[in-house]
């Protein structure tokens, strides 16, 4: 029999679980537009989680971080992605719809396996400290694996970029639950790392789209010999 965690801890765990579910949503979603929407929702949850932890442990810094992270990941990054994919995505998204290598149901089942691996890896660490909640950390671990899975099973640049960005969300989740008291300047620095990734992926997507006239990476095999 398991005893329940407190309300705050439970709320934090539920938010982490919802983030993992959204990751699965991105995995099975066929359209980039919807994936970007789910990414924005996932990022919004990170901000909510920061607020919950700030209220629970009375860390006012985290309110600022929640605002900053929300502005960046909920508004700016999805906006940039939409602008960037604006033309290709509206023109029936060449190469994106139907870029699944597995059928959605199989992909979900395979990713449940990946998530289980992530869960049990972190479970094997036997962390039992009030400062590092084992469950939220394990969910972050599972999210890392599932976002890798997303990048593997989808054969288009846009989904892979979104997989990468949500990987960053997973790392943020882990950082938030393990080291909530990290100085704000460091947290902000991590956030700006994301900006670099966005710029790099933007350039990659642009370059790939102009060369292959498609966002699908299946065409890249033509480069071989």
């Amino acid at each position: 029999m398991n005893t329940a965690p407190g309300v705050y801890q439970g709320a934090a765990d539920v938010i982490a679980a919802l983030m993992l579910l959204l990751e699965f949503g991105m995995l099975r979603q066929a359209l980039v537009r919807d994936q970007v929407r789910l990414y924005a929702a996932q990022s919004a949850l990170i901000s909510v989680l920061a607020i919950v932890i700030a209220a629970d442990r009375s860390l006012p810094d985290l309110y600022a971080l929640a605002g900053l992270s929300g502005a960046l990941k909920v508004v700016a990054v999805p906006l940039v992605l939409r602008r960037l994919l604006g033309r290709p995505a509206s023109e029936e998204a060449p190469g994106v719809a139907g870029s699944h290598t597995l059928s959605p149901a199989t992909a979900v089942l395979a990713s449940i396996g990946l998530a289980a691996f992530g869960f049990f890896c972190f479970g094997a660490l036997h962390l039992h400290s009030p400062e590092a909640p084992a469950l939220a950390l394990a969910i972050a671990g599972a999210m890392v694996f599932v976002s890798f899975g997303l990048m593997i099973v989808r054969r288009d640049v846009a989904s892979q970029a979104i997989g990468f960005f949500s990987l960053e969300n997973a790392i943020s989740l882990a950082a938030l639950v393990v080291a909530a008291g990290l100085p704000l300047i460091l947290e902000t620095a991590f956030l700006f790392d994301l900006l670099v990734a966005v710029v790099v992926f933007a350039m990659l997507m642009r370059a790939h789209h102009t060369r292959a006239e498609s966002l699908s990476t299946a065409d890249l095999t033509r480069l071989r010999g």
Partner: protein, 325 residues
């Protein structure tokens, strides 16, 4: 005088009987309410709330025919199914927080077995008829219930991990015990998975259009094609009973086990009946809203729906494995 009547104790066997009677008598009404809400949401006037009762009464007055070559099983199946459905309210908390004497005849798995038995006999009866649509329906119903079965099992595992037992009364008591129990991810994930299974089991959108007339999209609805008269009435009533029973399990065991009678007082028991109907109606309204806002899934997409429900249930167990969840 009235105060004394309300505080009078109701004998336990009567409460046990009331559990069955509440479900038996109110099930068609709930279907009527859902149909009404659905119609209003679509801008139609909709049938009367009492329409399902009139339908059942009308069917009971009609003659019943059996296809040539069908054995006694064809006519016995609706009776067995209804008997199974009427036994389940004895096992689950319908009106009381405390277990009634017959409540420990079976655990959650016992209730699950009875639900499966009812669905199995109806499927076999449909196969007996030789009618292609009834057979198609029973074959599909069994295929998809095999896919959703693991979800139900994982929900049961979650209950077992949460309470250390597999008694529905124990989970309801655990959920009532603190706010932390309500908000923990395992509980919420298992409840969401169960809700998805209930949508599937009651033949609702996104799995099946229960009001549709196109045989090719039918799953559960097609099975009763060859029954007529009182037997069809029993099958229809059975479907309504199943719906209210599943809603009761979701409300009184998982989502909102509040408002149940904790004593034998008449007032508390009556209040529990009202609370149960109110909770079932709220779930019914949610189901009606879902019915009106989504499209039916293509038949081969139902596996995706089942895999989503499976994901929720498995994650529920995972979160508990690490403790705390």
């Amino acid at each position: 005088m009235r105060g004394r009547a309300v505080s009078a104790a109701v004998p336990i066997p009567v409460i046990q009987l009331l559990q069955v009677l509440t479900v038996a008598l109110c099930a068609p009404g709930l279907t009527g309410v859902i149909a009404k809400v659905e119609a209003r949401l679509q801008g139609r006037r909709g049938p009367r709330v009492l329409q399902p009762y009139y339908d059942l009464a009308k069917l009971c007055r009609k003659e019943s025919l059996a296809p040539e070559g069908a054995s006694w099983f064809f006519l016995a199946a609706p009776l067995v199914a209804v008997a199974a459905y009427l036994t389940i309210p004895l096992l689950i908390p319908v009106l009381t927080t405390y277990g009634l004497p017959l409540g420990y005849m079976g655990d959650i798995l016992g209730g699950g077995f009875l639900l499966s038995l009812a669905s199995f006999v109806v499927a076999v009866a449909a196969l007996e008829t030789g009618s292609p649509y009834a057979q198609l329906g029973s074959s599909r119903a069994k295929t998809f219930s095999a896919i959703t079965e693991p979800v139900v099992l994982f929900v049961v595992f979650t209950v077992a991990l949460l309470t250390g037992t597999d008694l529905p009364y124990a989970l309801a008591a655990t959920v009532r015990s603190s706010a932390g129990e309500v908000i923990r991810p395992a509980h919420l994930l298992a409840s969401a998975a169960l809700f998805m299974v209930i949508l599937h089991e009651t033949g609702r959108i996104p799995v099946e259009t229960h009001t549709g007339t196109s045989e090719f999209g039918m799953i559960e609805e097609a099975r009763s094609f060859e029954h007529s008269g009182p037997y069809l009435a029993l099958l229809k009533w059975g479907g309504q009973l199943k719906q209210l029973i599943l809603f009761t399990i979701l409300a009184d065991v998982f989502l909102a086990p509040w408002g149940l009678a904790s004593t034998q007082r008449l007032g508390a028991v009556l209040l529990a009946i009202v609370a149960l109907l109110a909770k079932a109606t709220v779930i019914g309204v949610v189901v009606a809203v879902i019915d009106d806002s989504f499209a039916k899934l293509r038949l081969f997409k139902i596996t995706e729906y089942a895999s989503a429900a499976f994901l929720l249930a498995v994650l529920g167990v995972f979160t508990l494995y690490l403790g705390g969840g």
